[in-house]
């Protein structure tokens, strides 16, 4: 099957039901998306599928074929970070950092849809993303900063 990840087309030969997460990590060598639970309960594997935030451990590769997949690596780079990534850097959100690719992708999808979210909208959108280090206060602040509503 053919799959487009971060703007690059790949021809892959994998099972239809192999979750996208392992196609990315183990077949394509794109390691930013993380395995945390495998049941859609932690959000560490969050990527964008045609702009929508999804759990890559819950999407079959067969269903991702033909769609545009964006991973954390495709969102921005250290030299040219996405505004959400810049806010994450500025506020030093990460502790262990393992969940942060998923947090950043979830937050970027939220802001693409709702440029200036309310606290309630932030809580609803980010509720599925687990951070065992509990960096939540800075996640909240970084989303506000990226939305340009810091202190609002």
């Amino acid at each position: 099957m053919r799959i487009t990840v971060n703007g690059t087309d790949h021809e892959v030969d994998v099972e239809e039901d192999m979750p996208l997460l392992w196609l990315l990590r183990d077949e394509l060598g794109i390691h930013g998306s993380k395995y945390g639970c495998g049941i859609g309960a932690c959000g560490a594997c969050t990527v964008h599928l045609d702009g929508l935030a999804v759990r890559a451990c819950q999407v079959w590769s067969g269903d991702a074929a033909g769609a545009e997949v964006t991973t954390i690596e495709g969102l921005g780079t250290e030299a040219a970070p996405h505004p959400v990534q810049q806010a994450w850097i500025d506020l030093q959100v990460a502790q262990c950092g393992y969940c942060q690719p998923g947090q950043v992708m979830q937050a970027a999808a939220l802001l693409a849809e709702v440029p200036d979210p309310t606290d309630r909208q932030i809580e609803d959108a980010m509720g599925g993303n687990l951070c065992r280090c509990a960096t939540y206060p800075r996640i909240r602040a970084a989303i506000r900063r990226a939305a340009g509503s810091e202190g609002a």
Binding site: A41, G76, R132, A134
Partner: protein
């Protein structure tokens, strides 16, 4: 009585690490300086200045031997070195360095001794000095006990200064001018009309002696330390390029996972793997201790095949009900310790109250599942894993491969969290068991979340009974009995050492609380070892903070006193008073006001006070705000210390609310984050942190933020509802929004 019995009465557990290492290395290792482990591996054109600074043609590499688990260890170690070496931590390379006794942790052994950290008396100081010697001869290359900053503060600055002055000495020789006439700046030695990058001086270093005993710079001259500065890893962690242990890919690598009996030692009754073996991408199904390993070309294919193994495991384990009963019975059984026993709690006058508390087993559950990569050959074995104790890993692996520990190289990789989990090494041993069956091929073992969750080394279940009296509006007597399994006994049992004497961790955070009551007794009661238990963030203080601060709050309420004022009345230790006064000022404390609770715990040498404010809503209790004040002696990184104190508090709150590991006789009943719940963003209160650096010994903040959080919440819930939350998880007894 035999010698062992005599020793037992006079000594105490000093933790796995200390005993294990002491025996294996022998006492002579203390007198023999273990030397610089970097020297052996130097290529032509490289130089090692101290065990912490490596130079090659491309520049400087700083060695940061305490593993980064998310607590910021790599960054603070780099900044301590860089502050004296005059390099920019963002522009140099960092490496974890080899496993070596030269990287011993002089502070960690003191945590296992019955010496209150606030005690500056002769015996306590002597004991701490002895434990440092123990750490040194034991070669405790260990990360833990919130000791990284305390242990590294002088040592790494001294290493940076020594390397800097040695580089200057090399340049001085070449230039024919005095070392004092040179200065350093951003990785260069600078003189009146020129400069040279450190790397250019490598050829000259062979001819100069390492300059020792260099005076350290005054903090007023610091460039980074004490100021907000950027963590070295934060950009990579924000753009997805940071690489964890589980991201390692080696040529010809096999992907492995294991499925084993949740009851260790229970063995395998029957196993049918033919279906798994026939699945796409599966190379082999191999036997290992208590189960099987699947080797495949992809993690998911390995997981899928592991699920297809039909597996009947043997053995019989405890149930939670039986364990609760055993703990309650232990409260009336033999004492393991009574480090605090003043006055006469049984005869104290006043109104008497009693309450019982309990907390369940908890998993560390770092978000990155346990993983390890091992490549075995008959000549040498190489290990790549995120471990807090690399020398122990080398020894564990050597026992499996039948090699000497010196034949095993351990590469320490960054961890996606730990909370104490990566002091354990079961998965590294499993990876080694697999690797010896496929010599020459690297095997990367990744545990499924389910395997990881059901094969934990848990925070012990614990039960406590508080008894005390109040008289004339004051707390008079406090008697707290704590029953739990011994973490040290469990850990030492896993490496084959017996545990003599009382376990300090069992009562930590309670026996050493600086409350001066005329009648006060804290006793530990050890429950027989069943479920394997381990060091979980803040260890014994994680439950004893809750027990002591909840029961003290009950006594204060009974006395009709103010929770802050009465605590202050009982405390004379100045730093402890300071954090209580500070947190009261931050929150404009004016009593519980039907919404607020306070708690104070002294752990890991850090007094921490917290005030929680809650609100009752139709959906349940909402946590609105948490104030935290802590005294760490000196604040080196204001941004990270806030993260550690708030992260520790939220870790404590999240588990107190809804987490537990229960046992049904076949093993743990929770398998993943759907059944082992964790704090979520919507539950998180607003947090305000004040970290004080008022002088005194410098301390770490990774753990001490945790113990006061749950009791501050429970005491706030009492203020709001009149209900005392005496058992965790709180959500079993109280609805939270």
């Amino acid at each position: 009585m035999g010698t062992a019995g005599k020793i037992a009465r006079r000594t105490f557990l000093i933790g796995t690490a200390a005993i294990g290492a002491g025996v294996a290395f022998g006492i002579y290792a203390y007198r023999r300086d273990p030397g610089n482990p970097l020297t052996a591996g130097l290529a032509p054109g490289e130089a090692a200045l101290t065990p912490y600074v490596l130079l090659d043609a491309e520049g400087v590499t700083l060695i940061t031997p305490r593993i980064d688990l998310g607590q910021g260890a790599a960054s603070i170690q780099a900044h301590l070195l860089a502050e004296e070496l005059d390099v920019d931590p963002a522009k140099v390379r960092l490496a974890s360095g080899p496993a070596s006794p030269v990287y011993h942790n002089g502070s960690v052994a003191a945590e296992g001794m019955p010496l209150a950290a606030w005690d500056e008396g002769l015996i306590a100081r002597g004991g701490r000095a002895a434990s440092e010697v123990l750490g040194k001869f034991g070669g405790l290359h260990v990360t833990g006990g919130s000791t990284t900053v305390a242990d590294a503060y002088d040592r790494l600055r001294a290493a940076g200064a020594s390397a800097r002055e040695t580089l200057k000495a090399a340049a001085a020789t070449r230039l024919g001018i005095a070392r004092e006439d040179l200065r350093t700046e951003d990785g260069r030695v600078v003189w009146a009309d020129g400069s040279a990058p450190y790397a250019e001086l490598i050829p000259l270093l062979a001819d100069v002696e390492v300059v020792q005993d260099v005076p350290l710079r005054d903090p007023s001259a610091w460039r980074w330390l004490g100021q907000p500065h950027r963590r070295v890893d934060v950009a990579a962690k924000s753009v997805g390029t940071y690489r964890f242990g589980g991201d390692l890919v080696l040529p010809d690598m096999l992907h492995a996972t294991v499925v084993t009996n949740p009851l260790r030692g229970g063995g395998v009754v029957s196993m049918h793997a033919s279906e798994a073996e026939a699945m796409r991408g599966v190379e082999a199904v191999l036997p290992i201790t208590d189960g099987a390993a699947v080797l495949a070309d992809n993690d998911w294919r390995a997981f899928r095949a592991a699920r297809a193994i039909r597996f009947e495991s043997g053995g019989e384990g405890p149930t939670s009900d039986a364990l609760w009963k055993a703990h309650e019975a232990a409260l009336d059984g033999d004492r393991d310790s009574a480090f605090t026993d003043e006055g006469d709690v049984d005869a104290a006058p006043g109104t008497r109250i009693e309450a019982t508390y309990r907390v369940p087993f908890l998993h560390h559950a770092p978000l990155e599942p346990a993983n390890a990569t091992v490549r075995y050959t008959p000549e040498a074995t190489e290990v790549w894993t995120a471990t807090q104790a690399p020398i122990f890993v080398a020894r564990s692996v050597a026992r499996i491969t039948g090699q000497e520990a010196e034949q095993v190289t351990v590469n320490v990789l960054p961890a996606g969290g730990s909370f104490g989990h990566r002091l354990e090494d079961e998965w590294v041993r499993q990876a080694a068991e697999i690797a010896v069956q496929v010599p020459g091929r690297p095997v990367r073992l990744t545990l499924s979340r389910e395997q990881d969750m059901t094969h934990g080394f848990y925070r012990p279940m614990a039960v406590a009974r508080g008894r005390g009296t109040v008289e004339n509006g004051r707390v008079r007597a406090l008697d707290l009995a704590v029953a739990a399994q011994s973490v040290a006994e469990s850990q030492m049992g896993r490496v084959g050492f017996p545990a003599f004497g009382p376990d300090v961790a069992l009562v930590a955070g309670a026996w050493d609380a600086p409350y001066a009551l005329p009648d006060r007794r804290i006793t530990g009661h050890r429950v027989a070892a069943t479920v394997p238990v381990s060091s979980w963030r803040s260890v014994g203080a994680s439950h004893n903070g809750f027990f002591l601060e909840s029961f003290l709050d009950e006594l204060i309420a009974e006395a009709g006193a103010d929770p802050v004022e009465e605590r202050l009345r009982l405390i004379s230790h100045e730093p402890s008073r300071r954090v209580l006064e500070t947190v009261a000022e931050m929150a404009s404390w004016n009593g519980p006001e039907g919404k607020r609770g306070v708690a104070f715990v002294y752990s890991f040498g850090v007094p921490v006070a917290q005030i929680m404010e809650v609100r009752q809503t139709e959906a349940g209790i909402v946590m609105d705000k948490l104030w935290i004040a802590a005294e760490v002696g000196r604040v080196l990184d204001p941004v990270n210390i806030e993260a550690q104190l708030s992260g520790g508090a939220l870790f404590g709150i999240g588990h107190a609310l809804s987490s537990e590991i229960t046992f049904d006789g076949r093993g743990p009943e929770q398998t993943n984050f759907d059944s082992y719940e964790s704090l979520r963003l919507w539950q998180t209160p607003e947090i305000e942190v004040r970290a004080l650096g008022s002088g005194g010994p410098i301390r770490g903040a990774g753990e001490p933020g945790l113990p006061p959080a749950a009791p501050a919440l429970a005491n706030a819930v009492f203020a709001a509802t009149g209900t005392r939350l005496r058992r965790m998880p709180f959500a079993a007894d109280m609805r939270f929004a």
